[in-house]
Subunit: 231 residues, 2 copies
DNA sequence: CGTGTTATTGATAGATCTCAAAGATGGTGG
DNA sequence: CCACCATCTTTGAGATCTATCAATAACACG
């Protein structure tokens, strides 16, 4: 957690790809460090979008609340991922709330600074365009799933993605490496925690996953994929 | 349909906003005109993303097909809107198929040309970033609706948006100005044409809308909004 | 006027939510 | 160190929304 703020931190970050060392130093110079304790919030839905961030360590959950109070998980953010992108793409307020799932470390740039950085290093804007484009396609894929797939498949898809994004190999499979509740998965897939629990129980019986409190291990990734793709 | 290719055509196009006349001319010089007859397709899902486009006149439908053959409408494109954005944001293939709903006219730029234009006029990349960011937020809103709202509300939301995007004032309300089927609306809202038909019939009885073959008139926008927002 | 597309409507089945209750789990304070 | 408590999870039963199946009707076009 005492990680140095040097260029290496920006190495794997898409939005700063292909920048030379001088540019990276320039970027780093205007960055702000920010620690976020588990459960703490970086920004809230509706707040003025003052800054954008890159997660250095930890894990964040970005979620939206509906007027009726239902939560929808937008995405989980892992190391090297951007969040608060709206501050880059021109939005005025954050469309969601970012909360740390575990103790985390982020670096952020004030909105104005971001503008200046993009002016000085046009590559950043192009990279950002790519990242936001990718997110758009992912989100579109979610729309497709929600529109056409039944709950069980959607949950399978969600787990497959989580495994790819945050899977840690363990003895008997791949474990999602941060605490995640049935409720979280429900909010990722547009269902209820009850249905998620039932589904996971079923899969547990079929040796596909193994559950626990805020814990999921994928034991049979192939079977999961089969459910996800309806083979 | 015999519209001149002069700068005025790029006036209202977000991605070319704030460019000076010289830049606009430069952009225009490398543009390709393309007519699309109703029912014709500009590009297909999975095709290499060779170009991005701006619609000048007409109306397009962008849709994705699932492996099972179900359609999902990504969005309807109206005049001055971009489509085929992936060619700008770095995707390699088109994620959807663009089909003309009515006879249309578009202008397009080859992918390489787009890159060069962004190099010469960095403003374009920034504008594109804004547009793609907006689309991301819209798509995220759709995810939220699909996750938390019942069919009737989703249909109401879809109609409200269609009214805003393509509403033409008529005698007894606002008409969606292009032919749109119940099936289309179903594919926009993740339901079936049957449910859409039933819902519209119900609303027709309550004087909220008035239907017809490939035709919808919103008679009581306030009532529709009330359904959409569950007031 | 025939034909293909689009729309309407009824009946039924099934997936999933809602309501309800009890059981686990792990952290915390006394 | 242990009991307690908040949170998370599981599971059953019933209600409900919506898809599916099926048939007919309306419409537009050539």
């Amino acid at each position: 957690m005492a990680r140095q703020l040097d260029r290496s931190i920006l190495q794997g970050v898409d939005i700063f790809r292909d920048l030379d060392d001088a540019a990276l130093d320039d970027v780093l110079l205007s960055a702000q460090r920010r620690r976020i304790a588990a459960g703490e919030t970086v920004f809230r839905q509706g707040d003025t979008a003052r800054a954008f961030y890159v997660l250095v360590e930890g894990r964040l959950k970005v979620a939206q609340v509906t007027p009726e109070g239902q939560q929808v998980v937008v995405r989980f953010i892992g190391p090297n991922e951007m969040f608060g992108c709206v501050a880059v793409s021109g939005g005025t307020v954050y469309p969601g709330t970012a909360t740390a799932v575990v103790d985390s470390l982020a670096i952020g740039w004030h909105r104005d600074m971001t503008e200046r950085l993009m002016d000085r290093h046009p590559r950043i804007a192009r990279n950002a365009l790519g990242t936001v484009g990718d997110r758009l396609q992912e989100t579109q894929a979610r729309v497709r799933e929600l529109s056409t797939e039944r709950v069980e498949r959607r949950i399978a898809h969600a787990l497959v993605r989580l495994g790819a994004q945050a899977g840690k190999p363990v003895q008997n499979g791949v474990e999602i490496e941060f605490p995640i509740t049935r409720q979280d998965i429900a909010e990722m897939t547009g269902t209820t925690l009850h249905t998620v629990s039932r589904t996971l129980s079923d899969w547990e019986g079929r040796q596909i996953v193994q559950g626990g409190r805020q814990r999921i291990v994928i034991r049979d990734a192939a079977a999961l994929l089969k459910i996800a793709e309806e083979l």
